[in-house]
Symmetry: C2
Subunit: 661 residues, 2 copies
């Protein structure tokens, strides 16, 4: 899959050869010709202008780095890197020199400071940065700032360029690559930022060596096979022989565009993937980067859009903050660029319209023009199986969608690979949505992104002790222990096995998968069927979960229903005066046991109420089945967890067991 090419862009440099990274000389001409006639673009430019003008008024602030995320110096440097490329576009499109002056002055301030910096004083990361607490954020900075530099490249005096490149850009690029091989040579969303940063500044500076480094990684990195990052993930994939941007494309994505870390991190990585690709397409068009691996980047954008609920929010697989959606700036970039450079699919325009904003580059302009011309058609979300693994052989996820006049339903079942260091022990779990909200939720990450008061938005201890554990998900837990005993290495060595998938638009759809390795000696097999039945206004979900084992075990199957319990079709006893945790480890210590009951007949049903709709869970049950109402929040000293309800079906001392609901 590796392709070799000569870095030959220096051979055909036109007379005016900047901007050439994200903007192009031709593109700017087009935009200027359309100004005032393309409302969505004009609005975006107006907004960018207001923001940049306000910053210019505030004055330049380039403080000595000190704080973690959420703190002043962090937020200030972040603000700088977000503002500078906008100022660059404003300079090019409005041809107003004050923006060029502003960029130059900010960059010069960085050029004065950078040589004086040692490592960031926080020293909390496996790859500490200089401007920020981790190399990742330094790479963010360079991805954005290289765009600004490109915009004023020709306006600068040669001696100014020399200062900037010698004191700032080249050492900056070397720092996040050569000096941080564990960061740069990894297959990981963070390293993609590193690769893109080095490549993008390399393209602006016409520095072949940097571009080569970005594409192929460092030749020598001396990383040990067992080295890990802060989250416990391996630095080097087993068998990984290459690094750099192309290796990211080869290793992180499945052939149909699924990203092994899940959609939350795919969104985050999408920005450098698509921006760098766009820059490559401008400078090395003969590489046809958007054709790479059968149009992989385009497929990745579509895969991301498919992995959203009706509100556009991503399924919260693995470490994922809930609520992140295709309205994020990364997806605005991805959708605009995919429209512009991957075939002008008019269905993407309807997503852009929902986003309500466009990039201020040529791609954003192309989208705004097409929308203005009325070219949008609906984007059809469908039932689809997305395979995991570089060759699509490592399990996957199944998305089933069905709609009636009364509403729609979207079910997603997970039987993918571990998802690297951000992966959860949640195989064969599922989430269920209707057109309004979650019906059966996945907890998502125990993390409060951008909230300084909660450890600067980092992962909280309960992420490991609860959110990662199997009992936090809608899947069977054996003997109150998490899958793979909660060990990353064991989990990382295996994936679930797809059994069958039936999508399409028919009245019967299904996803089915098996897991052989999560619990030694036990085989898990879940089949989820979505049916349209005339007797019901909304589609119905049928779940069959079979567990087979030679030894007797206890099996727990939780349903994290979202809403307020109305009735349970069984007798239960509520804890009135004393709540205690449900267990002592593997996440059970974080669940309060609110009530327990026994299934009395051949089955039971449960009704709850959420967002003005009633939901019923009907289950077949054995006489010995225990039913537990639980709620998150036990052993939570700092109130880090939400207080959400679940019902757990418990089968004790069973060899083979069947959960049917």
């Amino acid at each position: 899959m590796l392709f070799i090419f000569a870095l030959c862009f220096c051979n055909h440099i036109p007379a005016q050869n900047h901007p050439r990274l994200i903007l192009t000389v031709e593109g700017v001409k087009k935009i200027r010709a359309g100004l005032g006639k393309t409302p969505l673009y004009d609005e975006a430019l107006e907004k960018a202008k207001a923001e940049v003008d306000a910053e210019i008024k505030t004055g330049i602030q380039v403080p000595v780095p000190k704080d973690l995320a959420g703190g002043y110096t962090h937020e200030r440097h972040k603000r700088n890197f977000l503002i500078l490329p906008k100022a660059g576009v404003l300079y090019q499109v409005l041809q107003d020199e004050q923006y060029a002056v502003y960029i130059r002055d900010v960059l010069m301030a960085y050029a004065r400071m950078y040589p004086t910096l040692g490592l960031h004083p926080t020293q909390r990361s496996y790859a500490t940065g200089k401007v920020f607490w981790q190399c990742l954020n330094d790479a963010n900075w360079l991805v954005y700032v290289s765009q600004a530099y490109d915009c004023i490249y020709e306006w600068l005096k040669p001696e100014e360029r020399e200062i900037l490149e010698k004191q700032l850009f080249r050492p900056f690029a070397d720092f996040i690559s050569v000096e941080n091989p564990r960061f740069f040579n990894r297959i990981h969303n963070q390293s993609t930022w590193g690769n893109a940063a080095v490549g993008m500044i390399g393209l602006v500076m016409e520095d072949k060596e940097l571009v080569h480094r970005a594409f192929y990684g460092l030749e020598h990195d001396n990383i040990g096979a067992d080295e890990k990052d802060n989250d416990g993930g391996l630095i080097k994939l087993p068998g990984q022989d290459r690094a750099g941007f192309l290796a990211q494309l080869d290793h992180s994505f499945a052939p149909d565009g699924y990203y092994t870390e899940g959609p939350y991190y795919q969104r985050y990585a999408m920005y450098p993937f698509i921006l760098f690709a766009k820059a490559i397409s401008h400078n090395l068009p003969e590489l046809e980067i958007f054709e790479y691996r059968g149009q992989l980047l385009k497929k990745a954008v579509y895969a991301l859009l498919q992995q959203t609920n009706e509100q556009g929010e991503f399924f919260p697989f693995n470490d994922a903050q809930k609520g992140m959606s295709y309205h994020s700036r990364e997806l605005v970039a991805a959708v605009d660029i995919a429209y512009d450079l991957c075939g002008n699919d008019p269905a993407l325009l309807s997503i852009a319209r929902k986003q309500g904003r466009v990039l201020i580059d040529g791609s954003g302009f192309a989208v705004a023009s097409a929308l203005q011309a009325g070219k949008a058609i609906p984007f059809r979300k469908k039932s689809i199986e997305l395979k995991d693994g570089a060759d699509g052989s490592k399990g996957g996820i199944g998305i089933l969608r069905a709609a009636t006049d009364a509403g729609s339903l979207c079910l997603v079942m997970k039987y993918a690979d571990q998802g690297m260091s951000h992966g959860y022990f949640d195989r064969l779990s599922f989430s269920l949505y209707d057109e309004r909200d979650e019906v059966a939720q996945d907890y998502g990450a125990a993390r409060w992104v951008n909230i300084d008061q909660k450890d600067g938005g980092g992962y909280l201890p309960e992420n490991k002790t609860f959110a990662k554990q199997s009992i936090a998900h809608n899947t069977v837990v054996v003997d109150e222990k998490s899958q793979f005993n909660g060990h990353f290495e064991a989990a990382n060595a295996h994936h679930s096995e797809p059994y069958f998938f039936l999508g399409g638009r028919g009245d019967v759809q299904a996803a089915s998968a098996k897991e052989f390795n999560a619990y030694p000696g036990a085989e898990l097999h879940r089949t989820m069927i979505v049916l349209k039945v005339e007797a019901f206004e909304l589609p119905v979900v049928v779940v069959v979960f079979r567990v087979s084992s030679e030894e007797p075990h206890q099996y727990d199957l939780p349903y994290y229903f979202q809403g307020h319990l109305l009735t349970a079709g069984f007798e239960y006893e509520t804890e009135l005066e004393k709540l205690q945790p449900l267990g002592t480890g593997y996440g059970y210590q974080h669940l309060w046991k609110e009530a327990t009951g026994k299934a009395s007949g051949p089955g039971f049903s449960l009704q709850w109420f959420g967002r003005s709709r009633f939901y019923t869970l009907a289950c077949r049950a054995g006489e010995a089945d225990e039913l537990i109402f639980a709620r998150t929040g036990a052993n939570d000293p700092d109130f880090n967890l939400r207080r959400d309800p679940a019902v757990i079906i418990r089968k004790k001392n069973s060899t083979d067991a069947l959960f049917f609901s």
Copy 2:
């Protein structure tokens, strides 16, 4: 305030004298002339037609009464009474006889059944009905159905009218009045329905006696002074010497339109008040009913609209289901009729536009026409004090509103009279909203309206044991007992005292009130100030709550903050392995004690996060102050309560105490 008039409408009956109740002959002509030109009205009529046509297709169902609310016969009879007046309007406006036939046939089915009915078999109400489980619903039926009868009155043969009036309407009206004096002669929202029902059918039938009864109540009722209804409310007000519709107007409302039971029940009572008034204005125009008590009914509509948050939801005072808003059908009627018959205030049009629908009568048509003509202007919600009590001398509520560019804030403080049987022991409590949602909530009622599984939507046991109790509200609780020891009679004898109120549009607004009787020997004084300060993006609330007593007591002040706790500026110890209730009675038994701490300095602050905004509560505290994090849900065997957080500031063994935040 009583006014005497002769019931003289028989003297000037025009040639064609029906419809005359809600529709008029003239009004119908106007509507017919405007059909197809008034989109909002056309839409409403179209919708009504679709509904009625579907019912006609389903066929007539008049089952023998059997079920409670939520059950089949209840819901079926309710559906009948909602459909019939719509069919009546369709007959008049579209002049399509099938609607008249349908109404006649349904009414005849009722006329055949009614004489055979004894009391409803449920026998659960202090005033059991015949068609429904309580007289209230029977009265609902008659208020609606009298409108349908009016529409086909002239179309019916005289002998058909005779059957209907002798077998159905007259006995029906007698049953809910003469045979149920405890229901009919009460000052209460339910009895207003009874009065209006009898009066409206009386106007249609031109039955002077019924109209007189509706206006003045029954002369003799033999109700004992201590008789109570199902909710423990007194049937007869102390000193109440009159009953009927005019007495309701005199006793239930304060001069500025505040309704003593609170906005939730005012909304419910508004429909019969305003509909019957409209019918009176058509038939007895010389009474000038809309001028009664200084345009009381108009003021009542405006008072209701002022008692809403930005989403139009009523403040959940007393027994109140949250989420009820001016989008309800009662308020659509109230706004349309107030616009049409109380001076055509264009500000009401903007509310009607938000409601997005209009009545299909002449008032709805007037509103739709005016909206179509572009007459709407914004409705300004303001800071306002609404006094309680028939003469405005029994306390009141203070509403403070302030807005900045970043958002708005609405605070409501309650220092009113008890609010009759639906009243809560929550004096000097408050709720706080921003433009998005609740910031500091009032729990509202423990009730799931329209949810069969939760006791048919009735009040749940936890309404009495928690929601009514003082600790469920943002007010001081002395010695872990509710105000007035939770005794209705004692509470009903006293009201809080307004101290001062400063509204207006300035940067400083305030409400201040005292309570002398809730706790013998203790005086409570709360002042709430809303400030616009340049240093803050949003307005700031300052609370000063002073408690004075000669004997030492324990004082608890809860804040039911809405959102997720981020940080507390004090050390606290969380209950990790065991939750227990905070107390044993007065609602404390329903709160889990999640954590406790001590104020360490001169004050502390608390931050929480809700709906993408951060909120801070900063309090002055004494060294001995205890701080408790609590959550509702203890001793809740049927999961009837929500799980909501609170922080309680506790001052032990204090005589005078000051809470400042």
